[in-house]
Symmetry: C2
Subunit: 292 residues, 2 copies
């Protein structure tokens, strides 16, 4: 398998389809604002996981492409919102002005709503045109994991925990809801479209949870051990912002142990899918081992 | 038909179900903020239209109750957003502090997202549990009409038109997208669940469009001709806020003529449904003839 070649082809597939969904029409500014944030340099992590899970479950990638784009729209709306003045009040993301800086705050809020809504429209449109209830089930899975019981709830608890040290339970809730939930959504939706049975779905639920937590611990570790040059953002920013992290709550040693244990378990779970799961396994491994 | 009795029974049905959907769980504050705005005194207009359309199309009300609640959640999220400091910056709605005043701006934004998401979750959950693709189709119809091609697009154009006189085309776009779209969504989703054929659906599309515009013209006329006491808010506020209205763009005489013509057409279209459409017809008539 030429992993890098397949990776780039899939990113290209997703980007082309996203461009089609976001083609400006009246009133243009809202499409421009949505497109600005979607094309501000995302790695397409969640779409790639969704496509990989569909493939691992035995499905056809083309069938899952709409959902792959939908999950990226939903992920992007969470970033636009997190950056708003009333939330983290960030002027830059990935070195570019945030949506409310490049446009205005009202347009950024509407672009966020627009992307969340368009994510659901895209999934529902596929579900209706393909006429198979499995797409509706996949959309419900995404909806539940990105709502108040998932991503939104995670953001609420994260806001409430600012400027005070979170306890272990609270920190795990935030990581699970803010990071794992959307990864679980991507994997499970892809697997459902790929035709996975209930047992396989619960495996993907576990993979998504563990991959999300491992990913987040790695983030917290890199914030301490990396250099500003490699990371592309200031190191030690979590500490400076008074943000509780896996490392500050559990200590460096346990963080590193848990990270290694979760990573090993994710890879073992993915091994079961054999050749069909080869892309997803390699991609997950690279996510876990990343240096920035 | 004892209209008032049926009306109150249906409102009660919707409220009870909404309470169940919004029952607080961890993290409680987001449920409290969503519930605060949903129960801040809405007339349940869109749920009643949705239930009435389901009935007119020959369906069972109970089948449409989840969708009736979903459309109210989506309507409420648009109100929370419209009131935000970055939008209309309103401190009060229906005499009560707006969501960002009663809670905080970050929680209000997340409560808005939460309600939009929960609206889709509710529709998708019904679609999966009932196992009938017509619910997925109804959810797509709602999604399309409340997205960037509908409600959100309308809000964008409304913001862009502030402080300048809108031309006829722009004003009609705003009224269609901001007011008619969600009414069309309610009627069409209800009709789809009720089993309507394509021809009936396009009639409901027309009814929704005309009812929405008539409703909005009435709003604009009342803002001039009513009294603060009857209206429950200051008269002449549109003019004071530099807001273009149907009356300021088309003149009072044409506004009144169009209002009467559209109202007549809505009633004629609803007459076709006979006894099954009796509730919906009476309700639409009362909406059009309202004094506040």
């Amino acid at each position: 398998m030429n992993f890098e070649k397949i990776l780039n082809e899939r990113i290209e597939l997703v980007n082309e389809r996203l461009k089609a969904y976001l083609k400006p029409q009246y009133p243009e500014v809202i499409y421009e604002a949505m497109g600005y944030s979607v094309f501000a340099g995302g790695k397409r992590l969640r779409p790639l996981l969704l496509l990989g899970a569909c493939e691992a479950a035995g499905g056809d990638l083309e069938e899952a492409l709409g959902f792959a784009c939908a999950i990226e729209m939903i992920h992007t709306y969470t970033l636009i919102n997190d950056d708003l003045p009333a939330m983290d009040n960030d002027d830059f993301r990935r070195g570019k002005p945030t949506c409310h800086k490049a446009f205005s705050e009202d347009i950024a809020i509407l672009a966020g709503d627009g992307l969340l809504n368009l994510g659901f429209e895209t999934m529902l449109s596929d579900a209706v045109s393909k006429g198979d209830l499995k797409y509706t089930k996949a959309a419900l899975t995404v909806g539940e994991l990105c709502g108040v019981k998932g991503t939104i709830g995670g953001q609420v608890v994260d806001l409430l925990s600012e400027e005070k040290k979170a306890d272990e339970e609270t920190l795990l809730y935030i990581h699970k809801a803010k990071t794992s939930a959307l990864i679980q959504a991507a994997l499970k939706a892809g697997a459902i479209i790929g035709g996975a049975d209930e047992k396989t779905l619960s495996e993907f639920d576990e993979i998504g949870y563990k991959l999300g937590i491992a990913f987040q611990i790695k983030d917290d570790i890199l914030d301490i051990t990396s250099t500003t040059e490699v990371l592309g953002k200031p190191v030690g920013s979590d500490d400076k912002n008074g943000k509780s992290t896996y490392v500050s709550v559990f200590g460096f040693e346990k963080a590193n142990e848990d990270y290694l244990k979760l990573s090993r378990e994710v890879c073992e779970l993915l091994d079961k899918f054999g050749e069909k799961g080869a892309f997803l396994r390699t991609y997950a491994e690279k996510l876990i081992d990343r240096v920035n």
